[in-house]
């Protein structure tokens, strides 16, 4: 079992880090799509974690926008390097998430979702209304590519301008994805995961045996926001620009759908959902005006046939120990 898992992980890394870059080295458009899919997965990972504590976060686009602007402002106004700005973006998003999470997370169910729904819009309007900081609707343009990362005289990462830009960005996205999902996997499989699952299933019961439920919820939201910060900062550098509309309400919903259709029971659901859906959307570009129609049909089909997400496909090697099969009672409701 364990060996199988390692083999599977190795295969994934081989394809992700070696085969794909080799195969698509010259097709920069498709490499760009994959890089975007990686960064969107990173942001979706946060939404997935909030699902995991039993809430629905519809404001992830807002956190990503905050992260993006934090990074862009640090780079363009304070002359920080991309690497410093990445850390800065995480700090800013985490602080903001703690500040707004403390009151907001008292809300349950649909009320929490509704208020997070407004967060993306709030972030967009805030970006528009403070031109002194954010340059208003014009956005911040012409951001430089990441420079070299040197620690103690050793160049860990070369200046992106000196290497194949598309490939470098792809690898950076891949690196962030691997780190973020390693963190997420570790959270879910440690006792923290147990506590989060206990919140998901019954907050009252959890607090009855001494779990500090409000604190744990804020921690989960802070981690979620940190992922958005990482993703937002990287996205901005990839696009070399940011506008108030870089992450809209539509994106927040998409993150939700990626997690939901990927599968909420498994950590990998967020990656699988994002890659399958985002890439299929991009591949439908050729259908022009029919693109949203076909895309929607795909989503409806997925919801009908795999209501528990792509990860519930009955492939024996995909089974995860923590796959939460829904209650027989709840299942009965869904099956008509």
């Amino acid at each position: 079992m364990k060996l199988k898992k390692i083999a599977l992980a190795a295969l994934f890394l081989l394809v992700y880090l070696v085969v794909i870059p080799l195969a698509f080295k010259s097709k920069t458009y498709f490499l760009g799509v994959l890089t975007t899919a990686s960064v969107l997965s990173v942001i979706s990972a946060g939404v997935w974690l909030i699902f995991y504590i039993g809430r629905i976060n519809m404001g992830q686009g807002g956190f990503a926008l905050v992260g993006g602007y934090a990074s862009a402002i640090l780079i363009s106004r304070l002359g920080c390097s991309f690497w410093t700005s990445l850390v800065g973006a995480i700090i800013v998003t985490v602080l903001i998430s703690i500040l707004i999470g403390m009151p907001l997370l008292r809300l349950k169910g649909v009320y929490f979702s509704m208020i997070t729904l407004s967060l993306t819009e709030t972030a967009r309007l805030a970006a528009q209304c403070f031109p002194a900081l954010t340059n208003g609707p014009k956005g911040i343009l012409n951001l430089p590519l990441p420079g070299a990362l040197t620690i103690g005289g050793v160049t860990l990462i070369p200046d992106f301008a000196t290497v194949d830009k598309h490939l470098a960005l792809y690898y950076l996205g891949a690196f962030l994805l691997i780190v973020v999902f390693a963190v997420l996997y570790r959270i879910v499989n440690s006792r923290l995961g147990w506590l989060f699952r206990s919140l998901q299933q019954n907050e009252d019961l959890a607090s009855s045996f001494g779990v500090n439920v409000p604190r744990l919820r804020v921690i989960a939201l802070a981690i979620c926001a940190a992922f958005a910060g990482v993703g937002g900062a990287f996205f901005v550098t990839m696009q070399q620009s940011i506008y108030p509309a870089s992450f809209t309400f539509q994106d927040s919903t998409n993150f939700l759908l990626y997690c939901f259709l990927g599968g909420l029971g498994s950590v990998w659901g967020a990656i699988v959902g994002t890659f399958v859906l985002f890439i299929s959307f991009e591949m439908l570009q050729g259908f022009n005006q029919y693109q949203p129609l076909i895309y929607s049909l795909i989503m409806i089909g997925l919801m009908l046939w795999l209501p528990n997400g792509l990860m519930s496909l009955k492939l024996p090697w995909l089974r995860n120990r923590f796959f939460c099969v829904p209650d027989p009672q709840d299942e009965g409701k869904e099956e008509r």
Binding site: R186, I187, S190, R191, L192, W194, L195, R197, S198, Q201, N202, D204, L205, A206, S207, S208, F209, G210, V211, N212, V213, P214, I219, C324, V325, D327, P328, Q329
Partner: protein, 258 residues
Amino acid sequence: MPLMEVKNLTKRFGGLIAVNDVSFSVKEGEILSIIGPNGAGKSTLFKLISSFLPATSGQVIYQGEDITSMSPHLVARKGIIRTFQETTIFRNMTVIDNVVVAHHLQSKASLLGFFFGSPAARSDEARFRESASEILDYLGLQDVKEMKASTLPHGYLRALGIAIGMAARPKLLLLDEPFAGMNSDETAHAMQMVRGIRDRGVTVLLVEHDMSAVMNISDRIVVLNFGKKIAEGEPAAIQSDEAVIEAYLGREDEEVGY
């Protein structure tokens, strides 16, 4: 000094006074029952003690400390653990995992320790599993340990609820209707269980409808009616108390002669 003292506790919901100026105390090592007709305010009183509801006025003093309206998890940390009336469990976890999670308070590792799998976190994990196993054996759940909680036969669910409560190592365990919906065999078994818990040094406060079980198991009884305490005493005294009989059976109307 009593283990816990309830002083003039009152809870208003708008115009309704659910608990009205109730005072009593709980001695260490006893089984104290709270009874009363439907809607007497028993469950509300329960939630007030465990801080799941804020009190309108009055105090709950536990080991000399005022714990009124503290956060529920802090009350739990002091050793007051409640179980739930409904079969409130973690449905998507196995039985043993339910109990392992409930050991949270005994954890020595920090949250970061959990994340990095520090030695403390790993030894916690092993300790909790062992202790959970022991609690389940004790409550007669040894055969269903690995079953998913949602598939558990109904009779086991309440025992699992109690197991979750026991895992938190309570000093005072609040049991919300532990015998509801049980037949006489099951009740006898559950009563045995509750006595066993008391013999392990846990003080038990229970809310219950089943009169014969209450009379049988309790050291003392507090009777509520319409939110007010109408009697307190040993089972024999309660059984012959005028006010209690009146609350349960109604009063003879002497003028009409019924």
